[in-house]
Amino acid sequence: MSVHTSSGTESDTEVVVIGGGSTGCGIARDLAMRGVEVTLVEKGNLTHGTTGRMHGLLHSGARYAVSDQESARECITETRVLEDIASHCVEETGGLFVQLEEDDDAYYEEKLQGCRDCDIPAEELTAEQAREVEPYLTNEAQRAIRVPDGAIDPFRLCVANAADTERHGGRIETHAPVTDLLVEDGEVVGVEIQHESGPGKRVHGKEGETEEIRAEYVVNATGAWAGRIGEMAGLDIEVRPSKGVMVVMNVRQVDTVINRCKPKGDADIVVPHETTCILGTTDEEVSDPEEYPEEQWEVDLMIDELSKLVPLLEDARTIRSYWGVRPLYEPPDTGTTDPTDISRQFFLLDHADRDGVAGMTSIVGGKLTTYRLMAEEISNHVCEQLGVEGECTTAEEPLPGSEDFSVLRDYMEEFGLRSPIGKRSVQRLGSKAEEVLKTGERNPVVCTCEAVTSAELRDAISHAGTDLNATRIRTRASMGNCQGGFCCHRMAAELSPAYDERVVRDSLDELYQERFKGQRHALWGEQLSQAMLNHALHATTMNRDRDPARKEEPGIEYGAFDAGPSPGVSGDGSTRATADGGVRSDGGTPDSGAGRSGKSAKKREGEHGDQ
């Protein structure tokens, strides 16, 4: 329920969840499914924080099997759950822990034993067997352990959780930062949010307006930002943000997650994702989760180290790099100095018990793989506070879109999609494919690198509005080799005619800028050549850098430019005789000979049809 007042709006709900990452979306879904009235508020779009900037490894737990067996057990259990309820977000690639010559034998044995202790299926492979699984694996590999690691798409996962929250009556409010906590008599009773300007779908509020949302309970699921929310109520929450880099390759050099079998270290995993591979990562404490240096050496390190495992990476083409910050938490007085030693477990901080401020709990730490479990535990806690009896059903109820894969194969033929495109669109959409693809209209491929069709984009736009970055996240359009050079403008055109030309242009500028920003750290080799090509396409041919429609550009005096040669009138300062015979300003039939030399042009069958 909401009421308009002069200063803004007020509304109330039972629970406010702050943060639209995997944790917040998971909590919102869990509570909504238990019948609790829930509102999720997120300052950017969904996945704006760490969730949109992580490695995408669905942990079997093997990674933690030596150092942190409790986390390892949670991982294998949750991986099994997600393979079930979120099959459209997960690719069961399997994973290898590869021992190189210089790596310690004892650690290998501990890893194997650790997996067995934690019930993580672990199979030993000889070097030859490992190379049968992954032909590009180095000849230096000694042996490997095969485990059920996988790849998970965090974007789809969050969107599916948010969609299900809405289906169960919840409210999802993006582009709405919490600007203050409402505290009355030492108790948190709600939040104040600001409805932001900028593109995106805003259903509930107007740009620039504030809204007070009063709630019986508030959950702080802002990850690395949790301390900032805490400060709004005078609470001290010791998150220790730690950054990590990821480098995206142009092709999928491996089909299995490849881990280096050695104790913690930088640059030790390659995760295959859709058509790419992602190399990662580093672990370095930073003081501010938003402002931290993104350094070239980190990118170089990924390639140098990981090409020891997969030599092909040395000369492969990178597409872009990005960084994320882990929301690590350390209980007061632990005093760990190296962030890699901080536990990967998660913590519920009930501020009533801890700080004497009732009405709010923060959840910090953890990892994406265990997001559902984290959500379950905090939802149990919240329901206890509210006296709600509902049972958690999130481990059994599939997420929307994941239900039925087999029927989807039929759609491919029905929609006349060629197999890779059909298969991939259909997988991306899960069981929503029919609704989305069956529009009865022509359905051209808009993003050729990622094979995203116009129908998929329009569906994403119906949720994301003019925020093309949100549409990109849902569909992967503009995220392939060309980094949007060939398709940003086509994506923007999908906004028309629902939005007017000015809005389309602004959204395009914003998307193109964001795509460029992401590539800057990977600008060398093929990717630099691509950047120059994109620059030429958008600035030279399209003149988007000096678009005369932009208000900042001075108006054009059209009369000062060439309007075409008219026969008989001599040009001003012409350099040679007028080319004649080619212009038909009288509307008559053309001169037959213009431009034809009599010889017929060469055939180009096949050669130029690839874009």
């Binding site: 060398w524 430019f561 060439d562 300003s585």
Partner: protein
């Protein structure tokens, strides 16, 4: 035994072709070696000379050129060579290009819905010039998402063009695969394939559909896909049937006007007696007394030698692979000519997508005789010249000067090579 010529041009883009034609005019034996198709496949087919100087729109490039900074390719070659290069181009392409009647730039609407300044334009785009005040209909096709005609029309209105314009999106008379390119549409028009209904042909159905939307428009623009092999015939037949002028709106890759220009230029090379060897890259070379004596192409591991007394390097820029880069630096891969660039990779680009990017200016620098210079500013080799986008010191995108620089520097380098040979 090595194949021997007077002038060897490496690279088969606009710069290489211009060099070869200019050298041939000197009456010497010229060979052009090119690895792959040129950048023209990607380019709009428009021939820019100089569209912006210091961020200001330029109406007459010849007024703005004299104030370009030292080291800019136009400053290196001078006005006379620019004019010479353009005359050579005009002759080579004949009536298929227009714009030579004036020094002024033309403003051509392109597929993003803006207009852009250019010096020469394919005859197929001529009826669309933005300084022409005739009312205009833009037609786009539903399956071809790169050109959204209604949106482009609105965009042109926002740019205050001096004519009425509206856009319509129609179904192409024939259905294609969902990822079909402009090529496929062009072929259907070339061959006038049977339309989807099976009763009539593509062109007729297209004309009937467009007629219903004409509403008094005096000219009609289509995306640049009006025929691959017989564009004049396709456009001519549409014009007579519609009773108005028809023009093409230049598009992105694969660009038909760019490819048509490439065909035309190769015919000109043939007519000028230039020998052309394509398909393999130049990979190695020999020198003697600071001069290049032989270059070798790599034909699947086999070395094929070519001897010449003068060599022109026209291998393109970052796009054409005449300039390469890796994590450590930027280089010129054939002769390892010096390429100046910031040491820190983070300084190769700026934050904003359309900022003034150092990478856009990467390339070799030359003296006024077009000889590449080393880090100490002396000529790398006694008989090497460079031309086109392998040169540094200009931002073709920002300035709208890409083809013009390739033509003018190609002409200057080719002529000098021919004179010395």
């Amino acid at each position: 035994m090595a194949i021997s010529d007077d002038v060897l041009v490496i690279g088969g883009g606009l710069a290489g072709v211009s060099s070869a034609l200019a050298a041939a005019q000197e009456g010497v034996r010229v060979r052009l070696i090119s690895h792959k198709k040129s950048t023209l496949r990607n380019a709009s087919g428009l021939i820019d000379l100089l569209g912006y100087a210091d961020g200001e729109l330029v109406a007459d490039p010849f007024e703005a050129i004299p104030v370009l900074p030292e080291g800019h390719p136009y400053e290196r070659v001078g006005i006379e060579a620019i004019r010479g290069g353009f005359s050579l181009f005009d002759e080579a392409v004949g009536a298929s290009y227009l714009g030579a009647h004036t020094d002024r730039n033309a403003l051509v609407p392109t597929y993003g819905g803006t207009v852009k300044p250019t010096a020469r334009y394919p005859v197929s785009t001529a009826a669309g010039l933005a300084s022409d005040s005739r009312s205009t209909l833009l037609v786009g096709f539903e399956g071809l998402s790169a050109f959204d005609a209604p949106l482009a029309a609105e965009h042109l209105q926002a740019a205050d063009v001096p004519f009425d314009v509206h856009g319509v999106s129609i179904a192409f008379p024939k259905r294609f695969r969902s990822d079909a390119t402009a090529m496929r549409f062009a072929r259907a028009l070339d061959r006038d394939e049977p339309a989807e209904n099976g009763e009539s042909h593509t062109r007729d159905v297209l004309v009937e559909t467009v007629k219903a939307h004409l509403d008094g428009a005096e000219r009609v623009g289509f995306p640049a896909l009006l025929g691959e092999d017989t564009p004049e015939e396709v456009r001519g037949s549409l014009e007579s049937a519609l009773g108005v002028d028809v023009f093409e709106v230049p598009m992105g890759p694969p660009s038909l006007p760019g490819l048509r220009l490439e065909d035309r230029l190769y015919e000109a090379l043939d007519e000028a007696g230039v020998r052309v060897t394509t398909g393999n890259p130049v990979a190695e070379f020999d020198t003697e007394n600071g001069r290049i004596t032989t270059v070798y192409t790599d034909r699947g591991g086999q070395r094929v030698p070519f001897e010449a007394s003068e060599v022109v390097l026209a291998t393109g820029g970052l796009v054409g692979k005449g300039i390469g880069s890796n994590r450590k630096g930027v280089y010129e891969p054939v002769f390892d000519c010096y390429v100046s660039h910031p040491e820190e990779r983070s300084e190769w680009s700026r934050e904003g997508a359309f900022d003034d990017h150092p990478f856009a200016r990467f390339g070799v620098s030359v003296d006024r005789d077009m000889q590449p210079l080393d880090a100490e500013e002396s000529a790398e080799y006694g008989n090497l010249r460079a031309a086109g986008s392998v040169l540094g010191g200009y931002d073709l995108a920002n300035e709208k000067s890409g083809s013009g620089v390739s033509i003018a520097t190609g002409y200057a380098a080719g002529r000098a090579a021919g004179e010395h040979a």
